[in-house]
């Protein structure tokens, strides 16, 4: 399946949670499948930290550039694009095509940099709703996301309950724990204290705070994996100069790469620093920190979710310690307390938080069955 990136511009300013607003912005998006005549088969996919609107398929000129949720979405896949009209959208402040910190601020004529307004999950959902307006879609058959994307899916059911029939929330949480915010803060400090960061205005200095981005990514990566998977993949194996060869002896070095895990993390960090924007990293991690629908209800999530009328499917993974199953259960309980339709699968997968992006028959099977029901519902 070939994907074609598109863009929609919005002249009307968007009021943000912070009190600021943003005008003259555009959103990058992709669509897959065909919108049916009564426009009842639309599914919106929300992305997490480092993903984009390129959710499924490949680009005609880049056969290797598979969408980040290609295992889940496509013709004949669990979210079947032969039946559903699937929309992937890049969020405001991201660095993959939608208006973000590296773009020009129409108010100053200068690149936003650190002046890009702080955006929240709620702001993203508002922007996504406008995109749907532009596409002529009133109601979503489903909104779906993993991790931070799951928070957006949950927020959709609260901000636009009448526009969402189903919400599929995978490996997510009703808010971040202190430990989770702590990880985000370490990553942010790594970026902000990089001498090349220049207070977020590094573009005009012609540099990129790559060191900070690398470390931010390394920390992130550790938290996306489980201890077991990391041990199984790398263990205490030493990195050999010759690929495939096994090295037995220590080098007795403190700064060179000694263990395979170090090599892996450095590689991931290097790769990430080549394509990800430092200001975007700060913005998105902050949006994660801020998300907390129970905040205006004295921490009572059941009260916060009282207005959600969608039907829910939640999925978590047993070894995910960054968005642990108990966090998903909190959402399930709040929905139960409100007597909402909800199903919850707790997949016993070894891969930690990353599991939500991987192929697992039980996980994909449950999502497939759920979307089959949505599809049949629409037919009836």
């Amino acid at each position: 399946m070939f994907a074609t990136p598109q863009s929609m511009s919005f002249a009307e300013p968007l009021a943000l949670q912070s009190g600021a607003s943003i005008r003259g912005y555009s959103l990058a998006y992709e669509t897959y499948g065909t919108l049916n005549p009564d426009k009842s088969n639309a599914v919106l996919i929300c992305h997490a930290l480092n993903a984009s609107h390129h959710v499924a398929g490949v680009y005609a000129d880049q056969e290797n550039a598979q969408g980040w949720w290609d295992t889940m979405i496509g013709p004949g896949k669990p979210v079947d694009t032969d039946r559903f009209f699937v929309i992937g959208v890049n969020n405001l402040g991201s660095c993959f095509g939608s208006t973000g910190p590296m773009h020009l601020n129409p108010d100053t004529g200068k690149v936003y940099g650190a002046d890009f307004p702080v955006v929240t999950v709620e702001d993203w959902v508002d922007a996504q709703a406008r995109l749907l307006d532009g596409l002529g879609i009133r109601t979503l058959a489903a909104v779906m996301g993993g991790s931070l994307g799951g928070m957006q899916a949950l927020s959709w059911t609260l901000q636009y309950p009448e526009r969402v029939r189903h919400a599929v929330v995978v490996a997510s949480a009703p808010n971040l724990t202190a430990e989770n915010i702590a990880f985000n803060e370490v990553a942010r400090r790594a970026i902000v204290t990089d001498p090349d960061f220049h207070g977020g205005h590094f573009y005009e200095h012609g540099v990129i705070p790559k060191r900070g981005l690398r470390i931010a990514r390394m920390i992130g990566h550790i938290t996306y994996l489980s201890d077991d998977v990391m041990n199984e993949k790398f263990g205490r194996e030493l990195r050999s100069a010759v690929a495939g060869a096994v090295r037995e002896a220590y080098q007795y070095t403190t700064q060179d790469i000694e263990f395979q895990i170090e090599s892996y993390l450095r590689y991931q960090g290097d790769k990430f620093s080549e394509y990800f924007d430092a200001n975007t990293y700060l913005l998105i991690t902050r949006a994660l920190d801020y998300f907390d629908p129970a905040r205006h209800h004295n921490g009572n999530l059941a009260k916060a979710l009282a207005g959600a009328t969608a039907k829910f499917l939640l999925v978590s993974f047993t070894t995910d310690w960054r968005f642990a199953p108990r966090r998903s259960r909190e959402i399930v309980k709040a929905l139960l307390d409100n007597r909402r339709d909800v199903s919850y699968a707790e997949i016993d997968a070894p891969h930690g938080h990353d599991a939500f992006l991987l192929e697992d028959e039980r996980y994909l099977g449950v999502v497939r069955a759920y979307f089959d029901r949505i599809s049949n519902e629409a037919v009836q």
Binding site: L313, R329, V332, K333, L336, D337, R339, D341, V342, S343, Y344, A345, E346, I347, D348, R362, G365, V366, A369, Y370, D372, R373
Partner: protein, 194 residues
């Protein structure tokens, strides 16, 4: 215990329109039946992946949980009826779960294989553990880690101050109200907190 007559018999104990929690709901057939035939709503609890999938396929709300971890997710009297159909015998903490059933449900309904059914007694009298249609497992591979009788349950219910509202045996889908402890392969109890 997917036998249709058995399911219908137990379903008759559930008041129409009830909000139901089905502990160990299997493939969701009972909840599906209660929703379609008796206007009930509710959720099933299951631990097995294949059963969770089957429930989603049926369109029955299912929550994947290990019942041995308790029912802390559910508030007191938050359901009209809590079902434990062929579940009790698999639970390590069977007594706690029985009390939990009465806490979460305004009414509890439990069904389980009655070990005192006469063919079982006969088998034991001959010196062997029973292997029957109702108890098809060998003693060394049975998932039924709690083997009890109709009478045993009455004692356990009394000990935990549960008020039994109705009880009977089920055999081949028929209700057995005369000497159920000897004459029925399945024991059924409907109860509430005393």
């Amino acid at each position: 215990m997917s036998d249709r007559l058995t399911m219908q018999s137990i379903a008759r104990l559930v008041p129409p329109g009830s909000r139901v929690l089905d502990l160990g709901c299997g493939d969701g057939a009972m909840l599906d039946y209660l929703q379609r035939e008796r206007g009930c709503s509710g959720y099933g609890i299951e631990i097995a992946d294949d059963n969770v999938l089957a429930c989603v396929k049926r369109g029955v709300n299912v929550i994947q949980l290990n019942l041995d971890e308790g029912l802390s997710m559910f508030d007191d009297a938050s359901f009209d009826v809590v079902l434990q159909i062929d579940t009790l015998q698999h639970l390590r903490n069977a007594e706690i779960m029985l009390v939990e059933t009465a806490r979460v449900g305004r009414m509890g309904i439990v069904a389980f294989p009655n070990f005192a059914h006469w063919p079982n007694r006969l088998s034991v009298a001959r010196g062997r553990m029973p292997v029957t249609k109702r108890l098809p497992y060998q003693w060394y591979d049975t998932p039924n880690i709690r083997v009890g009788t109709y009478k045993d349950f009455e004692v356990l219910a009394t000990k935990n101050r549960l008020a039994i509202l109705d009880s009977y045996g089920l055999q081949e889908g028929r209700e057995v109200r005369f000497m159920p402890n000897a004459r029925a392969g399945t024991a059924v109890f409907k109860f509430e907190r005393g």
